[in-house]
């Protein structure tokens, strides 16, 4: 029965005339790419939950419209998975060209999954004209997304790093290491929360704990196996057994996202929280979402950081336009604007010493937000573990704490 239905469904798919074989753009012939891109509309699927981000994307769209004649439509997502689902659905339906998604804001597990399933176009990123300014040496994360080599299938456009934040009017001296956090929570039960894994911020908190407590953190950069997993995570589970009763709601309920942490902090339900965007608290202050007494800091041993990227699906309709937009996002102009906390405040992927004096001046002119750390205060970020760790950690976390034991 099912087989029969599948055959008829497949017949429908075949009945649709396939688009003519298209010519794949080659970013090395940049003049051809920009010429072909003119007049195209790029549907950029990107998370749409932040005003600052949405406004930056709209600005970038205006710029490439003016310079290259490309129209950018921001498809606002609540979750990157929606764009991934779309590409999978198109592949299932046999639509291998003229797809709906031209560019995706992506990183980590989503990238690993799409790369694995052959859903991405490329390689292209390292042939873009602006690639030469990328800080490949200083920020290895731009070529290795959660340790998975990007191999030119995605272009970096921002740097993120875990920071903790607290309301200095309620909590003056916050704990500066993972063990200190446990002790502090013991004295102040119910005043700290992390989002429920597999939310990426919640999972990153788990990885941060593992990195800090594991006897040999270097195993985290390799794919997980039974022996290294048990050794590395035993201290994590001991730690969480101690911490959980002292979490917000005693761990009987968890916030569902980092955004919810901002609300809880503003409502006075918690005194300590974390974020993956060093500038999020400053932005929230400017937006009346947090009081101006909120401050941020990083842990003494450093915190996990990663890069975020844009990728082009294998069946994208406006590949040339997407390439031009991706290249623009790596330009000094776009990166400097993006780093400005008044606009967004995301870390740059460029090496400032590779820029000319005029472009460097754009970065020097940026004023940091009241709760934003200077780059030297953020320090060197710690690398993300291999994505296979995340899968195991999330499974085990759910079994131990996520289902009401």
């Amino acid at each position: 029965m099912i087989r029969h239905m599948l055959t008829s469904l497949a017949a429908v798919a075949i009945a649709v005339p396939l688009a003519a074989q298209e010519v794949m753009p080659d970013p090395k012939a940049w003049g051809d790419v920009t010429a072909a891109a003119e007049g195209q509309t790029v549907y950029w699927h990107a998370w749409g939950g932040s005003n600052s981000v949405n406004e930056f994307i709209a600005w970038a769209g205006d710029q490439v419209q003016e310079t290259y004649g490309i129209t950018v439509e921001h498809v606002k997502l609540k979750d990157t998975a929606d764009a991934v689902s779309r590409v999978i659905a198109e592949k299932s339906a046999g639509k291998d060209a003229g797809g709906a998604v031209d560019l995706i804001w992506i990183n980590g597990e989503n990238f690993a999954a799409m790369k694995d399933q052959g859903l991405l176009f490329g390689p292209w990123a390292e042939s873009l004209p602006n690639w030469e300014f990328i800080d490949v040496e200083g920020k290895p994360a731009v070529k290795s997304d959660f340790t998975v080599p990007t191999e030119g299938l995605e272009a970096p456009w921002g740097m993120a790093q875990i920071i903790f934040y607290h309301d200095s009017s309620r909590l003056d001296i916050p704990p500066r290491s993972i063990p200190a956090l446990r002790d502090w929570a013991q004295d102040n039960p119910g005043r700290f929360a992390y989002p429920q894994p597999p939310d990426f911020l919640g999972s990153t908190f788990l990885k941060q704990v593992v990195l800090e407590l594991a006897p040999d953190p270097s195993v985290l950069s390799e794919p997980v196996n039974e022996a290294n997993y048990v050794a590395a995570t035993t201290p994590l589970w001991e730690y969480l057994d101690d911490l959980t009763p002292n979490l917000w709601r005693g761990g009987a309920a968890y916030p569902q996202s980092g955004a919810r942490l901002v609300q809880l902090m503003n409502d006075g339900e918690i005194d300590l929280a974390l974020s993956f965007n060093p500038n999020e608290p400053s932005n929230a202050i400017a937006n009346f979402e947090l009081p101006d007494t909120v401050r941020t800091y990083v842990l003494e041993g450093g915190t996990i950081g990663n890069a975020s990227f844009v990728a082009i699906p294998y069946n994208a309709n406006a590949k040339e336009g997407a390439l031009v937009l991706a290249n623009f996002l790596m330009s000094a102009e776009a990166q400097a604007r993006k780093s400005d906390p008044a606009v967004w405040g995301d870390g740059t992927v460029l090496a400032l010493d590779k820029l000319n004096a005029e472009d460097r001046a754009k970065f020097d002119a940026i004023a940091l937000g009241v709760a934003t750390l200077a780059p030297e205060e953020l320090g060197q970020s710690l690398p993300e573990p291999h994505p296979s760790w995340m899968v195991r950690l999330e499974e085990d976390w759910t079994a131990r704490y996520g289902v009401g034991q």
């Binding site: 999978i88 399933q117 709601r249 409502d267 006075g268 289902v403």
Partner: protein, 549 residues
Amino acid sequence: MLGPVLAGLLGTLAPAFGYMPALGGTTFSLNAFEALFAWPGLSSAVGLSLGVGLASTALSLAIVTLICAGWADTRTFAMVERLLSPLLSVPHAAAAFGLAFLIAPSGWIARGLSPWATGWEQPPDLLILQDPAGLSLIFGLVTKEVPFLLLMTLAALSQVRAGQSLRVAQALGYSRVSGWLKTVFPLIYRQIRLPVYAVLAFSMSVVDVAIILGPNTPSTLAVQVVRWMNDPDLALRFQAAAGAVLQLGLVIAGLGLWRGLEMAVAGIGRRWTASGARGHRVFDQGVRGLALGLGAVAAIAVIAGLAGQVAWSFAGLWQFPDLLPDGFTFRNWQRHGARLAGPGLETLTIAALSTGLALLLTLACLEAEHRHGLRPATRALWLLYLPLIVPQIAFLAGFQTLSISTGVDGGRMAVTLAHLVFVLPYVFLALADPWRAWDARQDTVARALGAGPDRVLWMVRLPMLLRPVLTAAAVGFAVSVGQYLPTLLVGAGRVPTLTTEAIALASGGDRRVIGVYALAQMGAAFAPFALAVLLPRLIWRNRKGLLNG
């Protein structure tokens, strides 16, 4: 209607049994179900879904029944009716956000009482929201289901001559509530049975409200399925599909259980009716008060929640325990107001088109049934209701694949057609029973006076059924306004509506933005409901018999 439903189901079933070539699944296996049953939270999640669904449906039905039994045809009841349209037009997620802000330990109620009455300088660490038993979720669902069921009951009431039955019963010495329950309720329930089933299926599968108000260690099965569906680990898509199949089974089991309860209640009710007990005045007063009190709590929760949204949309900094924000600002509206226009227009166009189409199809169907004396096959009805019973996210995966491969994809028309799949059952649901309950003797009389079947339809039947028709249209309109996944999936993200924008922005958690968009969404859904209540009153102000039976 058959195509999309079957393709949608297929898109759920095939991956559940391991078949999804795009993700490398080319053989059939039970691995996905094995993984699903190995998930440690499964029994709690299933129990929770079932319990929440049954409890919220039973509670809503009880409140609606008792309000009607105690208050139908009174001045209080007229006031309740006027409240209906605003209550119905609040989107589910917005109502849930509003309720969450009301009852949280740092919420509006606690702020009103702190610190002067409670002594709380900071909110207490109390598990009120997202409690493991799902009580706050049940509360949230009841607040939205009571208005819907009441609306359906009102449409049915106008067809069963409730007033006359009640007068006869009262003349025979029955108290008001007992008389209504014994004479009117059996007639009404027969007509609102399908809406009740839809409510049950909905509350067992609801996702957005359950994420906001429901427990999360574990959450309900539907929420968990969505989590797996959205997980970057694509292998979990198979498990998600298996979970969706289980969810479907769960909904069917829930409906079966409800059917069993129906029969039990009917048996008890028959014995109670046959006993001839007239009921006591004091008991009556108690029931009337209780019903009105519960209804009022539900209504106040939604309205106060909405007031909270209004306050947030103008708020500057607003911290615990301040009852009101530090300052008010137009900035949020300035920022988003201009951006509401495009998606707002798109929302209204699509809602009007899909509701119009659904109404046309429903009327054509029902009229053909009437003229040719057809009895609708139960199996066909089930197909129509499948979109309401199969969890949306799983049903839609296959639906999306179908729309891409047929090329009906990515534009306003495609989205309208997708909405139609969900709007049509609700319109049919809302209209079928009142339409069929129309007294066919009117037809005989009109035909005897020389009118042809078309004239009877346009001059007698439609005018007499104006209220149920408008009500059905309003429900359909609101359903279309609220669609998120069909719009996103079939529209390829290229057809932005108020709801797609609202949900994307809500993921950023800023209550001010959520407030602005919730009010815009509510505005879009409000007008049709208001018309459905007001128009019959205006047109039939001299025809009291057409307003209420």
